[in-house]
Symmetry: C2
Subunit: 527 residues, 2 copies
């Protein structure tokens, strides 16, 4: 049941005076529930509870954390159709997408539960003593990862489940041993509250400390700002716009004690389409990319907003086919009227650039808040010279850059801002002839896709979802996959510590049977 | 031979007009060589060369990087007595210390050479495809670490070899595949130039690209500032004061593209002396700590500046013995008159606090620029209430805090700024009765020492040299030990990439025989 209140720890609370509603873009009207924005007292209360909870939660053994996180997954599933319906009402996205995203969220939670139950994620390293070493004896040193403290997670507009209340940031922080305070996204506050209720239920069922999770409503920037500046907060997770992420980064960097902000932000995800692929499989790739560009109304952070080819008949044909394929797609509803408005404005700005040539701009029927997909094309030189053309247009829009040759393509790629994903479309062995192009692309992205589309982000250990700035604020970490836990931990070393006082992960007997680096060799046996 | 010039890549250059000399604190007079500060052109030239060098150096295979780094170590040894003599002339430190630090520097370089020759440091992870998975096939994903780009390293005043020109920051960045521009420390510019000449010789001998290393002279803040703000620079390593490190952090955070700054800064390294240890081994620990506090004139970042005990006869006796032991130590020369001056001023400020009681302030003979060691003591309540007492006094000074009980001790520890090291001195099984104290200490430090002194920093995989702010700007990374390489890399994932186009670390055959996480299991075999 949606109450419109905040969860300050396990308690529902609504002391604030500012209220708001969510919006159903498909019906083009407000949803019924009234949400009460968190007051300053409630914000401070949530952080104080998180700090207190951290004192015990940081030492909760892996299997108990795993049970807690699995209970969250189970309780989210138990929300059943209520959750799916609320999700659809608050996003305009179809039921299949809601169910798919719920599945992804559950899978992420269970992956992190497995990870912390296993225990090897602490990256234990042990160097045993050499008491007879000269000139000085070598001490015994043992290292492992420990959690850094309370984390603030900002829900993302475009993934109300997988990148929000119980999404990857929350799951990875809880797995690490860090309490989480969620700044709920105002566009899906109801979905957020339902998921929060599932987490709070899990907290109570599995005996976790009150305050290990809070969910705070917010319709403006004040709640987030106060949270990021709070001395009790030790890290921030965010998925959203470059402007929003950078503002949080700046706030955190200005603190007396700066804290890390992991913001996954804008990206236009360049796609290099090589000549043979265009000549031989223009149809196939035009079809695939028409689908990728319009997937979820183009509201994926991995949406391909930039395609690069080498000028000529094959590229001209590909552009034509891409235009034909995309114009056949049904327009779909975007998340919110504000997002449609921003999309139309960004699209118009790109089209208004004197160097741009329109390929296609859907002009058929479209429902309220539906996005009209479009493709434009520009010359390589124009793209290089006009930075406005580099801006992300969030929605079903893409630009084809016609390069003079491979060298110009390499030059363009090497000057691009940082990106989440770069893709190479090739046929036969042609990719090996474009080493410079691929190298330039690699240096600007977090993930390289070959003969595919960038939109899907697999949840697995070898995924990197992040990239050089502004794709993310810290390219050294991924937001998706189990390595996302590394954002919320720091190493601590024990020197000459008595075995019985060490954490179990570092004891000689290795009671958990975890993978450890012992005197430079990996091992799961005891010392 | 010392020329006083900069190395802009492999070329000696002195276009600037600002000059300076180093100082021999023992003889209390200037050294002879004249150093020419790098001009803006030389700074920009060094970064441009580094950017160009990165294009090839980032793909140099591990064994070749290892040969380069080993040649640096060999060439530093080949500098022989010239280096040792210059080091002593520029620091006032004794020959034995110079040789010991050179040994540490060589060991660090060779450790990183071994690491990159082995190849497993790239943390390869592979998840193979599941083409028949429903509803969508699972792609093949493979991840490894790649270097981030040119790095600026700031030499540290207190370790002219091990934390400067070819110290841990430079060694780890070069090992990662990142070119390095060193901002030489003005107090040991001659030592820096000699080491730089050894590196440049290694660049030429092993055929590394020109620009993979530069060494820029600097006597003020301008050179460092320009380097940190340069768009071609992608990361910064620094060891020094909190004020200096924070200034660099702030500059880097304000850039259009923020870059990581790994600053290892101030620390007072609290030591908890438990009652039984004080009752039974006051002599032994007073002796050991008199040595640790005065080691290298107290100019170690791990110097124990704060000792905490529980009030009573045993603590009073320990304080007396510590005073007696430290007053017997010979005063020693500090690095520079400015450092002696800052020490005496910091010491006086601490002593002038109304709550402080003097235990001992050495008043015997002392040579020019020698530090007079001192111990003061304060009550727990006074320490809690007066933040001036928390300031680091860089030099042979320590403060004993007399706590009312374990609970007050825990309260003090939990409110301390972040620290590099925390130590517990205990006897028999008493440590297990102070769980809250140890937990509070653990939460504020990067390394916990049991029954020892914090000063030594072992170079090994399980070392953490870093800690919560302001011990370092990023507690998630260590500045000492092979994991220091992680500061200069980011993961990149390859999706469905053809085997023959993958880096060798990710190819099916595993030609390097490295340790990889394959479908969730560690393995060194092929797929």
């Amino acid at each position: 049941m949606i109450t419109g209140k905040n969860y300050v720890g396990n308690n529902l609370s609504a002391k604030g005076s500012k209220t708001y509603k969510t919006f159903n873009p498909k019906l083009n009207l407000e949803n019924q529930h009234v949400f009460v924005e968190a007051s300053e007292d409630e914000i401070d209360g949530a952080v104080a509870l998180a700090q207190k909870a951290f004192e015990t939660y940081r030492n909760v053994p892996g299997p108990k954390k795993a049970a807690f996180i699995r209970a969250i997954a189970d309780n989210i599933l138990d929300l059943g159709d209520d959750l799916i319906e609320t999700y659809c009402f608050e996003t305009g996205l179809p039921k299949g997408r809601a169910e798919g995203e719920r599945g992804r969220t559950i899978f992420q939670l269970r992956s992190f539960a497995d990870l912390v139950e296993g225990g090897s994620w602490v990256e234990a390293a042990i160097d045993t003593a050499l008491p007879s070493r000269t000139p000085v004896p070598k001490p015994d040193l043992r290292k492992m990862n420990i959690p850094i403290g309370p984390i603030v997670v900002f829900g993302a507009s475009n993934f109300p489940l997988a990148f929000s209340t119980a999404g990857g940031d929350t799951a990875s922080a809880l797995a690490a041993g860090c309490p989480v305070v969620v700044k709920s996204h105002p566009m899906h506050a109801g979905t957020g509250e339902l998921v929060a209720s599932a987490i709070v239920k899990a907290v109570e069922e599995t005996g976790m400390p009150n305050g290990v999770f809070s969910n705070l409503n917010s319709s403006g920037i004040e709640v987030g700002k106060r949270l990021v500046q709070h001395t009790g907060v030790k890290g921030v997770g965010f998925t959203g716009s470059t402007r929003g992420g950078r503002a949080l980064y700046d706030l955190a960097a200005k603190r007396e004690e700066p804290i890390p902000v992991f913001a996954e932000m804008g990206s236009i995800n360049p796609v290099v389409v090589l000549p043979d692929a265009m000549r031989k499989k223009a149809d196939r790739w035009a079809e695939a990319y028409a689908g990728a560009i319009t997937l979820g109304s183009g509201q994926f952070c991995t949406n391909p907003g930039l395609l690069l080819g080498i000028k000529g008949d094959a590229l001209a044909n590909f552009i034509k086919q891409l235009g034909n394929a995309i114009v056949k797609m049904e327009p779909s509803c975007m998340l919110h009227p504000n997002i449609v408005e921003a999309y139309e404005s960004g699209k118009s700005q790109a089209m208004a650039q004197p160097e741009s040539t329109l390929v296609v701009d859907y002009d058929g029927e479209a429902g309220a808040n539906h996005a009209r997909q479009a493709i434009i094309t520009v010359e390589g030189k124009a793209f290089l010279e006009n930075p406005t053309l580099h801006h992300e247009v969030f929605g079903p829009f893409s630009m084809v850059v016609q390069c003079n040759d491979a060298s110009q393509m390499e030059g363009i790629l090497s000057k691009l801002e940082g990106q989440l994903v770069g893709t190479v479309i090739a046929e036969g062995g042609e990719a090996k002839n474009y080493h410079g192009v691929v190298e330039a692309l690699k240096n600007r992205v977090g993930r390289l896709v070959f003969n595919g589309v960038p939109t899907g982000v697999e949840v697995c250990p070898s995924m990197t979802h992040g990239g050089p700035y502004p794709a993310s604020t810290d390219s050294r970490f991924t937001a998706v996959g189990i390595d996302a836990i590394k954002r919320w931990v720091r190493p601590v070393s024990y020197q000459d510590w008595p075995d019985e006082l060490l954490p179990v992960e570092l004891q000689n007997e290795n009671p958990l049977g975890i993978h450890r680096l012992i005197n430079g060799e990996w091992s799961i046996i005891k010392i």
